[in-house]
Amino acid sequence: MTPIRDLSRRGKAAALLAVLGFVALVVVGVVQPVGSASTQSDVRTLAVRQAAGPVKGLFVAAGRAEGARSAALVGTAAAPLSGWISPVAVPTADGDRLVYSTWRELRHQDPKLSWSKQGIHPGDALGKPTLWIHDFESGRNKAIDANSFSAAVRSDGAIAYVRGTDVYRAFTTYTGEIVVRSSVSAQPVVWSAKPAEYITAAWAGSTLLAYRVGEGEQLDVLAFDGPGKQRLLMADANVVAVSPDGTEAFLANEADIPGSVSVVSVADGTILETLDLGSLNQGILWAAYGGSWSGDLVAAPTNTGVAVFDVANGAISLRELLKSDPNAFADGIVEPQFSGDTQHIIARGDAPPGDKKAPDEDSTTALDCDLATAVCLARTTDPGRAWLHPAYNPSRPLKGGAS
């Protein structure tokens, strides 16, 4: 398989993973049946070992897709305006195509300096997102729309995304509309009632879940039932995952810390079940976007690691807490996605920057974790600027084999 990064970086990765392997020897097998009598959830620390070959799943990094499919993209799949609030690359339901965002910096910015010190004035153009689709069979990349990012791809091929009113400009909130194309070649239809700072999340059946970003980066979860038909599903919340049948959403509320998680009916916003994270006494303060739901289990990224919740029988309980090893991934494990079954997840591990790296640029590692053994196989370690991310489709229901 073609490596994602050049060999020199792989050499660095091997050195890091050797250290991680030592850590793994120390921590592997540490299983603590911890928790209150009511929860009885297992708490384990995920050990990390270097993968001998390719790991499962589909990842993107540095302009390539690797894993289940391999491809050269038109550029690095990246979405600076949304991070991984929604996936930067989304396979279609049949897995044959990949919808992804790119970012073109219109003016270089030195993060050490203020905008004024760089001669950047209010209104200056700084960046431009573009939404693309890649066909794995032909190898072609086609632009879907300019000033656009953050795609949600439905099982029938409909694509929802945010189309900005302009390029990204200094001292200007990046507003746009949520638009939907019934197919790549169809004309976009505006679904949002008015321009705002939106990020799409996922389709839940025929309803689109999306965020409105507010002051302080507060995320409000909105449901769009059609053009102009938008409603607030939950304020100050994250979409962790959508149920396999698309009728329910697992939302994390962040109005308080510790927060809570809820199963919510997408059709009418009814909160069906709620679990206060503080009641678990596991140090879980919050759960976040980028999780997955398979069968009765929801894998959610949290401040302590990956929490696996059981949502069977009309209640939410913590089945297992898989802590990230602070010596390996002190900045957490993000975007945990069930892969094939509920015994494996693919994810990304984040480690803080070292002294020689750019400020605030984590090292990122592709992970394939076996939940039965609590061991993660680590493949590549890339600098944050490579935008290593699992490529996954959070919309439900899904037909075909997309992860």
């Binding site: 004024s116 990046y174 507010g214 302080g216 507060q218 976040a288 803080p352 920057p353 750019a358 605030d360």
Partner: protein, 189 residues
């Protein structure tokens, strides 16, 4: 705006050369990232033409609920110099009360952090209502990435008011509303 003579008396005005070079004739805030719950904020100013820095008291401050800068809505804010986009006494939106709006800033991987403020958890009229906005727990120092200071009323000092006083009265700025101010905050790693 309240006048706080006690602060002037109690201030630890130190003649120490700062790590971050003076950016302008005006003072500026410096935020030292230590942890999400317990970092620090200080006002730095230069009362005369000499290059000696004077400091306000240091206030406990929080930012984010993760140390992963690129974790939008969770990570603490990026390092470096910031321009300010506006300052309000009685802001009344999602953010309420004393609010200072910061420029967007990218993390090392290019992720943009936006909608960042220096603020507390108070009502627009500087009061408290624990049904909505009150600072009554150390966990209130957590934020989605903004710099959070405490508000009085539940055993915490009124640090947001103190910082506000220094902003206006020690080589700071008199304006209110949407105005761009250069180099008004430096975030240390």
């Amino acid at each position: 705006m309240r006048t706080r003579f006690s602060l002037a008396v109690g201030a630890a005005i130190a003649a120490i050369t700062i790590a971050a070079a003076p950016a302008s004739a005006h003072g500026h805030f410096e935020f030292h990232r230590t942890s999400n719950l317990n970092s620090s904020l200080v006002w730095v100013y230069y009362p005369s033409s000499n290059p000696t820095a004077y400091y306000s008291p240091t206030w406990r401050a929080g930012s984010g609920d993760s140390t992963n800068c690129s974790y939008v809505g969770h990570g603490w804010l990026p390092t470096g110099w910031y321009d300010v986009w506006g300052h309000w006494d009685h802001y009344d939106s999602t953010i309420k009360g004393l609010a200072t709006y910061l420029q967007d800033k990218k993390c090392g991987d290019g992720t943009l952090r936006t909608q960042l403020f220096i603020h507390s958890k108070e009502l627009a009229n500087w009061g408290s209502s624990c049904e909505t906005y009150c600072f009554d727990s150390s966990s209130d120092y957590y934020s989605n990435g903004c710099i959070k200071l405490s508000h009085s009323g539940y055993g915490f000092p009124d640090d947001i008011q103190d910082a506000h006083w220094w902003w206006h009265n020690r080589d700071g700025y008199s304006f209110h509303g949407s105005t761009t101010v250069n180099d008004a905050l430096y975030v240390h790693s």
